[in-house]
């Protein structure tokens, strides 16, 4: 018993003291190392993924390279290189807290709960949750899923909403998209819910895209933002200025076209509403 207590105490000390305080701001760190380290996904096309040529690319990564990086370089007056590390929903916030990465740029939905732990940039993409079903399925949206088996990605905001709004739906949560999609393809579940754009990405990559339908109005609002450590207002301002300038100069829409246009990785037209929303986020000089 004594030995067990000693063990638990050791564990508590190790966990409690794991994160040393750093007096350095994010900007000072970037200036000292000459590197902006971002945490991003490896399997979320077209935001951040490894393509067939084995390059780590995507819309979120391009925004960092071509919008955020120039703003930081201008501020620091010297070139900065972008280094990428993989981050997943459970590791995103710890990676930021431990200073392993300076910015999360992937597919992270900005939420009030998350804002208690991290700060977000302005919104760089807007989507919402929908359902992926086999063509001809009776499921038409969130109103027709009672009693049905619904797959979701664990850690997503959509699973949470379904649990709250349709408690009778049988939720099956999988750690990643491929497993959930497999379960849908085989009939283990009747529908797979995720952000509309992620579903579009799955369908675009599926062997027979014609078999699938994305149905239902958005039943959630998923604004994607870039996350950073809290209380770094100078750094956050630079990230935002970079994004605003990209929206202003049209660079943002060029990149949108590159990834989501008719020839892009995942065709997903920009709605007039969303375009307007993006431009309204730009504050005057």
């Amino acid at each position: 018993m004594k030995r067990l207590l000693a063990l638990l105490l050791t564990l508590a000390v190790v966990l409690g003291g794991a994160v040393p305080a750093l007096a350095e701001t994010t900007l000072e760190k970037i200036s000292r190392t000459g590197t902006l380290t971002i945490g991003t996904r490896t399997g979320s096309p077209p935001f951040a993924f490894i393509n067939k040529q084995n390059e780590w690319v995507g819309f979120s990564i391009d925004l960092v390279e071509q919008a955020v990086k120039p703003a930081i370089e201008r501020k620091l007056g010297k070139p900065v290189k972008v280094e990428k590390k993989e981050s997943t929903p459970p590791t995103r916030i710890p990676l930021l807290s431990s200073n392993a990465v300076d910015l999360i740029a992937g597919t992270m939905t900005d939420t009030r709960t998350r804002r208690e732990s991290v700060d977000f940039s302005l919104t760089f993409f807007v989507t919402g949750a929908q359902f992926l079903v086999k063509k001809g399925s009776p499921i038409r949206g969130i109103d027709s899923i009672a009693g049905k088996r619904i797959a979701a990605q664990q850690g997503s905001t959509n699973a949470r909403i379904i649990r709250e709004r349709v408690p009778t739906a049988q939720l099956r949560e999988f750690p990643d998209q491929p497993a959930a999609f497999q379960a849908l393809a085989q009939g283990q579940v009747d529908a797979f819910t995720n952000d509309g754009i992620q579903l579009a990405g799955l369908v675009a990559k599926a062997p027979n895209p014609g078999e699938w339908a994305i149905v239902g109005d958005f039943f959630s609002y998923e604004p994607y933002g870039m996350a950073m450590r809290k209380n770094e207002s100078d750094f956050r301002h630079l990230v935002n200025v970079g994004l605003m300038e990209a929206i202003e100069s049209g660079k943002y829409f060029e990149l949108y076209e590159k990834w989501f246009g008719p020839k892009g990785e995942v065709p997903y037209p920009l709605t007039a509403d969303n375009k307007r929303f993006m431009t309204l986020q730009v504050v005057p000089k």
Partner: protein
């Protein structure tokens, strides 16, 4: 910036209830899989030592086939591979009645049964051959010799390695989250989803696993002492 710990997320809101649900699911799947693993382990472990080559070969095939493929693959095999072979109606019934739980139980039980089998076999083979010969000399059949002499001694000898294997089984039950079984590790991730507090949630999960495993080990140690055959195992120090 330092990470600000906020342990209250673990007992506010639904977190406590989720951890409890997760713990129950972990215990259920582990207990059922353990029963299956022990049954398969004793059967195939004993068969690997019997004097009839075809039975030995069959048991060897089972062990080598199931222990040499990763558990994750078996999970997918039982969940994604088996149901399509069944009639559509049966499939639907299964999917509505916890197919993922049973697939996870089977994967865990059959995989650990193969590993348990090796533990039992080594226990049997550590018993001097003369015991078996003596049993046959007093007129017991092979089946009786195993049932009345060999297995009762072997099962006492293998408590330590079997405990080890059982703890592995318990911890490996976390792999079932890949096929959507909402066990303890799944629930710690769930708390992280709702509170954005990964370190606190994982710490809670870690402590629960630790307490579970330490308690099981303690029970098994008592069991070992309780059933020890005097003179069979030389005890060094107090365990």
């Amino acid at each position: 910036m330092t990470y600000e710990f906020n342990w209250s997320v673990l007992w506010s809101g639904q977190s406590g209830g989720w951890l409890l649900q997760g713990l129950l699911t972990t215990l259920e799947i582990s207990a059922l899989a353990w029963l299956l693993a022990v049954a398969l382990g004793i059967l195939s472990g004993a068969l690997r030592t019997v004097p009839w080559p075809p039975l030995r070969a069959a048991a060897t095939c089972y062990v080598e086939f199931f222990r040499n493929v990763p558990l994750l693959v078996w999970m997918f095999f039982w969940y994604f591979g088996i149901p399509p072979l069944l009639p559509r109606g049966v499939q639907d019934w299964l999917f509505n009645h916890g197919a993922e739980f049973w697939a996870g139980t089977f994967a865990l039980g059959v995989y650990h049964g193969a590993r348990m089998s090796e533990v039992i076999r080594s226990g049997i083979q550590s018993i001097p051959r003369t015991q078996f010969e003596a049993a046959q000399a007093i007129g017991l059949s092979v089946w009786q010799a195993y049932r009345l002499v060999i297995l009762p001694i072997a099962l006492r000898l293998i408590v330590p390695p079997a405990t080890n294997e059982s703890l592995n089984l318990l911890k490996n039950s976390s792999v079932a989250l890949t096929i959507s079984v909402a066990e303890l590790t799944f629930q710690t991730r769930q708390i992280e989803t709702y509170t954005a507090r990964a370190i606190e949630a994982l710490t809670a999960g870690t402590l629960i696993y630790l307490v579970l495993c330490v308690s099981i080990a303690a029970v098994m140690t008592r069991l070992e002492r309780r059933f020890a055959i005097p003179g069979l195992i030389a005890r060094v120090g107090a365990g």
